[in-house]
């Protein structure tokens, strides 16, 4: 068990490519941190720098208070789960799990006990003697997890471990990883591009964009108070609606329509208004603003209504039980409006 500190860590490749730019993250002992961002945002590079598979160009990474910049991967006391599992194809399930311990000179009896325990936890008992090629994708994933668990490392590093699984298996493995981490209490760093995976797993989220940290916070905090238009658009599905608006007094103008808001002070002048699809309501008796439906996606309990208002595309989540009127007018929940600077895209806190 250990805490991990990432201080001013940058990665620069030849040709002046800045993959990671001065990232700071403090990870407490036992915390589950998810690094999330679109592909190419530097999240995997950051993880691999902590693992020791990439060199750190500048800044320091420390595990358990010890700076590990120059420490060999095998001596960092971490275990990593790879996207394609990276099992040793010529070894049995048992040998795969025991390999790391054997190389560390763990006594045979101890290795056996730990492997047996992990195997029981992961329900892999019937497959101990099988080679990886005789296992299904989900089973391979479990073996990869087992290989990490038996080591009892200071930290687990996960590099998109579920991306190669089918949708159903991904959801169930997600739950298992979460439970397992809670039970073992091992500090974990998890990389994914799937915002849903990030939301469900994380104690805290780190949203990365172009090598920089956009926001660090609990999933709910990030969801309810996105720090920038990037976070607002990336976290949450369907994505938050972002509208360029001009505000004078209590009136928000966009296109040729206006919304009046009471009980809230608004940032004056030009800004970007963010509103989640579920925070838009059908307006009663002619109030609100006009909305034209382009198409509807039925999800069962809810329907996603895609359309536009004064030329601005909007998505609205509505209950399937409510019948859609001929002319739709929408209203907003004043306390659920988010405002972002028109220039920087940063959140404006009133």
């Amino acid at each position: 068990m250990a805490n991990i500190q990432i201080a001013n860590v940058s990665k620069t490749y030849a040709g002046d490519i800045h993959a990671v730019k001065s990232v700071n993250i403090d990870i407490a002992d036992g915390e589950f941190i998810v690094l999330v961002g679109p592909s190419g945002c530097g999240k995997s590079t950051l993880l691999r720098m902590i693992a020791g598979l990439e060199t750190i160009t500048s800044g320091t990474a420390s595990i358990g208070g010890k700076i590990v910049n120059k420490v060999e991967p095998a001596e960092r006391d971490i275990a990593m789960v790879f996207q394609n599992y990276a099992l040793y194809p010529h070894m049995s399930v048992y040998a795969n799990m025991a390999y790391g311990l054997k190389n560390r000179g763990t006594p045979k009896a101890e290795i056996d006990a730990r492997v047996k325990e992990a195997v029981r936890m992961l329900e892999l008992e019937p497959y101990l003697d099988r080679k990886p090629r005789a296992l299904s994708g989900g089973q391979r994933q479990r073996v990869a997890m087992g290989r990490a668990i038996v080591r009892k490392p200071a930290a687990f590093l996960f590099d998109e471990p579920l991306s190669n699984l089918d949708a159903k298996l991904r959801v169930s493995m997600r739950g298992e990883i979460k439970q397992l981490q809670k039970r073992l209490g091992t500090t974990s760093l998890y990389v994914t591009h799937d915002q849903l995976e990030a939301m469900t797993l994380a104690d805290r989220l780190v949203v990365l964009n172009r090598g920089e940290v956009e926001q660090i916070g609990t999933p709910l905090d990030v969801y309810h108070n996105p720090a920038s238009t990037f976070v607002a658009g990336f976290i949450g599905s369907p994505a938050m609606n972002l509208v360029n608006v001009e505000i004078t007094g209590q009136t928000i103008a966009f296109g040729d329509q206006t919304i009046s808001v009471e009980n809230r002070t608004l940032p004056q002048g030009k800004s970007t208004l963010g509103i989640r699809p579920e925070d838009l309501r059908l307006a009663q008796d002619g109030s609100g603003f006009a909305f034209h439906v382009d198409y509807i996606e039925e999800l069962g309990a809810q329907r996603l209504v895609h359309g536009h208002a004064s030329g601005t595309p909007l998505t609205v989540t509505l209950s399937s039980e409510v019948a859609l009127p001929e002319d739709i007018r929408l209203s907003v929940l004043a306390e659920k409006l988010h405002f972002f600077s028109a220039e920087t895209g940063k959140r404006i806190t009133a």
Binding site: A51, L53, P73, A74, Q83, Y88, H90, Y99, N103
Partner: protein, 293 residues
């Protein structure tokens, strides 16, 4: 698999014919001829032959000279195979680890393979030449007076060195592509699991290379046994007298220099049997230990 239907039933056999003809003319027919003539004593001037049963075989197997050459061939094959495989592997591992200038390095190593065996033999002989050979001069620095073609062991060492040198690039190509076939993430996982690079090599890299290594083992043994003819010939400079030669070279010497066609045929039949046994052994006992992914 796609199944092709031929309208004419003989058409597929027609397609097979050229290949079958080549195998028959250049392999089965000479083999059958060799087996047949190994039971005859041929007149050196071609005036007929006498059936002698297995006399040719008993003569060979009771000849101390033949046994001496057979032992040399065994040692030659083992040493050439061992060194060309291990040096080829070492170079491939080093080339694989290089990041800068990798392609130039690889091209330099691979290009030697384009040299034909007799030319390699010639170049090798020049390296070991009594007057201008740098290797001989180098050996002289340590007080070793190398006499190729005169001293049995010096000649043997030169012959093995040249044969190994010629075969390294071939092994290098295969080992390098084998190494590059090992997934990067598996290597990374092993880097996290094991701190010792040498141990990682023995426990992860080498087992994953075993299909390549097995293939090369067979190819290299065949090479050492048969394809080194040109190298042996140029090294002993046609004066086999007291110099080390391999069994294949003896087949040539006895058959075409000694005009003992029957004895030479019997020798090649023995070689055929040896290769047959060796191949069965390799596939039955060694291949079990090979991991195919």
């Amino acid at each position: 698999m796609k199944r092709v239907q031929f309208s004419h039933p003989y058409l597929p056999y027609l397609f097979l014919l050229p290949q079958m003809a080549v195998i028959f003319i250049f392999f089965y027919w000479p083999s059958a001829q060799a087996i047949q003539s190994s039971f005859y004593l041929e007149d050196p001037f071609g005036f007929g032959s006498t059936f002698v049963g297995i006399n040719n075989y008993t003569d060979i197997l009771s000849s101390s000279e033949y046994m001496r050459i057979a032992w040399f061939t065994v040692w030659f094959t083992v040493l050439v195979t061992f060194f060309s495989l291990s040096i080829g592997l070492l170079l491939a591992v080093k080339a694989d680890a290089i990041l800068k200038g990798a392609s130039a390095y690889k091209t330099l190593l691979i290009s030697v393979y384009a040299v034909a065996p007799p030319v390699a033999g010639l170049i090798g002989v020049m390296f070991f030449d009594q007057h201008i050979g740098p290797f001989v001069k180098f050996a002289a620095l340590f007080g070793w007076d190398m006499r190729i073609g005169i001293n049995y062991y010096d000649t043997a060492i030169a012959m093995i060195t040249i044969a190994v040198w010629k075969q390294i690039p071939y092994n290098f190509i295969f080992f390098l592509s084998g190494l590059q076939g090992i997934p990067v993430s598996v290597r990374e996982a092993s880097a996290i699991d094991c701190r010792s690079g040498l141990r990682r090599f023995w426990t992860i890299t080498l087992p994953l290379l075993s299909p390549t290594a097995f293939f090369l083992l067979i190819i290299n043994m065949t090479y050492a046994l048969f394809d080194t003819f040109g190298i042996v010939d140029t090294t002993v400079k046609d004066k086999a007298a007291n110099n080390p030669i391999t069994l294949v070279y003896k087949v040539y010497m006895d058959g075409f220099r000694g005009n003992d066609l029957g004895g030479s045929s019997a020798q090649s039949v023995i070689l055929m049997i040896v290769v047959f046994v060796l191949t069965i052994f390799q596939f039955r006992f060694l291949e079990r230990r090979v991991h195919y992914n």
